[in-house]
């Protein structure tokens, strides 16, 4: 096919019998260029649709104005909120975000990081894939820090790796959720856990455990079941919970999806919510306000996390030699709705 070669500065120079430098300066409003020359060149450039080749500029300036955002998925409300936050701060500063979705795949994560570095991006925001976690297996990150490319963790992280991070206080969010259930009179509180190995999963789990301990409620192994954060994955576990000889009177879901799945199962069994069983989710995704009953949940400030992460990035960029990574933890907020508001 006859690819319309993009018009270059040289093409324009040829047209005006002048040197590329003159064209470049004319287009950039350099003062040492004759007014007429400038006008003519600019006009012609507009006419033929000249567009600066950013690739060559990137090579010259060693700046790409591009940042990598590496996340496991973009399907959930929270994740898109984070990206929104990053965008809100960085887009106006001229940065382009290169969003890479790893699908929780370690190899893909590794490949993306390499590729981003090869493309000389200027910073990376990373929420690690599920598969990565076990055993602090993070050598693929060494290349990033070796390059002195700013690396910011978002939410999911390698705890041992030294870099800036912006996370939500999942622990206290979970604690508050469980405490609320206890205050509502629930005592047999089950937990639909997230996938093992993720910081978020473990923090929420820990909040659950510690709160029960604090209120001297015995912890039952049977009441703790894993999910993969998707709706479907909570159906069987919830059924199993409700089939127990002593079924729970409340379920704390590791995210909204699994709580909604549990809600469905409970309703199928004819249980009334919150009278027979209390439910709490996590994330405060938009639908939770409109389920029937509406779902009590823990709100994670995704947009804010994105904005804070941006700030961390900028800090590191302008930092001096003795830069020490920063650690931002934003609070999660309990949103009390109908699914747990039991009248006694």
């Amino acid at each position: 096919m006859p690819v319309n070669r993009p018009v270059t500065i040289k093409d324009i120079a040829r047209r005006f019998n002048c040197s590329p430098s003159t064209v470049s300066r004319a287009l950039n409003d350099h003062q040492a260029i004759n007014e007429d020359t400038r006008k003519n060149i600019q006009e012609y450039a507009r006419e033929v649709g000249y567009q600066k080749n950013e690739v060559s500029l990137s090579l010259l300036n060693k700046k790409t104005a591009t940042l990598g955002v590496v996340v496991p998925s973009i399907g959930h409300y929270y994740e898109t909120a984070v990206i929104e936050g990053l965008h809100a701060v960085l887009q106006p500063m001229g940065y382009t975000l290169n969003i890479c979705v790893t699908n929780e795949n370690y190899l893909l994560e590794k490949e993306y990081l390499s590729k981003l570095l090869s493309n000389r991006i200027e910073g990376i925001f990373l929420s690690v894939a599920q598969e990565t976690y076990d055993g602090g297996y993070y050598e693929h990150l060494e290349q990033v820090t070796h390059r002195q490319t700013p690396l910011i963790f978002i939410d999911r992280e390698y705890e041992a790796f030294e870099t800036s991070r912006a996370t939500v206080d999942d622990y206290h969010g979970a604690y508050a959720a469980v405490e609320h259930l206890i205050q509502m009179g629930y005592r047999r509180i089950a937990h639909l856990k997230g996938p093992n190995g993720l910081t978020v999963t473990e923090q929420r789990f820990k909040g659950y455990l510690d709160c029960l301990a604090k209120y001297e409620i015995p912890i039952s192994e049977e009441y703790i079941i894993n999910t993969n954060f998707k709706v479907e994955s909570s159906i069987v576990p919830t059924k199993r919970l409700l089939d127990l000889t002593v079924p729970p009177d409340a379920i704390f879901g590791a995210n909204d999806q699994v709580a909604i799945g549990a809600m469905r199962v409970a309703k199928d069994r004819g249980l009334s919510i919150p009278q027979d069983i209390g439910l709490v989710g996590f994330d405060n995704s938009p639908i939770t306000a409109y389920t029937f009953p509406s779902l009590t949940t823990v709100s994670r400030p995704g947009r804010k996390i994105g904005m804070e992460a941006s700030r961390l990035f900028l800090n590191q960029l302008n930092a001096s030699d003795d830069f020490v990574p920063e650690n931002i933890v934003l609070p999660a907020e309990l949103i009390i709705r109908e699914s747990s508001l039991r009248l006694r």
Copy 2:
């Protein structure tokens, strides 16, 4: 800060007292390079973490192996499914996707397109922003086609603009949904429309109208209300519908979110679904199978759309002079669930 300048081929050449060409050839396993030289260079390169500068290569080869994906939002299930589909085909071929979210903002869409072209991406997948539509206002796309950069529309489109497109048959999907409601005995069917001006909105609306006409059911203006596709935006409209002297006995929502909002309002009023009122959504997002009652909906094959769009792109890339844009329309499938399955 002392930025660790990435090691270049020249650095390696200096280290071995040889020319950059030799290093380049050694790293690329060129046959005309002495076995020992090759080994030494490769080993050293690995040691110091050499990583090819793709920017310079892009400049040299005029190939960036990067594609732009410009979408209004990434919050909904369908959109992420499409991206998943694009990814599934293009990632293995070595393409990087540069995902740009316009937030339905025309100016941002325009800016992104310019930026992508400046960055010499090799193709663009575009789902146009809401604001863009009125009046076939698409001059910002001319620059793309002028560059002969393949441009593929996804779902939302400028109908008059000539380029390849992959869309879902919203019309027949909507038609099937309404027909199903009619077959279930509903007669006063309302429609919670999407935002005006979008092809998807209009096609679903048309399906609704045509089906009613076909079954000789009178169309009532009062039964048609706009939403913005978000849950919240369906609350007031649904209330208004139910407050009518002759309220509808079924509601066809332009997407799942608004249908779920309507479900909530109906339940608040003590209406039983599907006995008192039937509900149908659109998109088949994962939660719809687990609401109570589960939501009848129309499934859009997002992943397939992404894959088809990739195919269209590849076709155009390998096309000859007389390339004519292709137009793929995939069927939407009615998924019948509890919210409309009325026992007569």
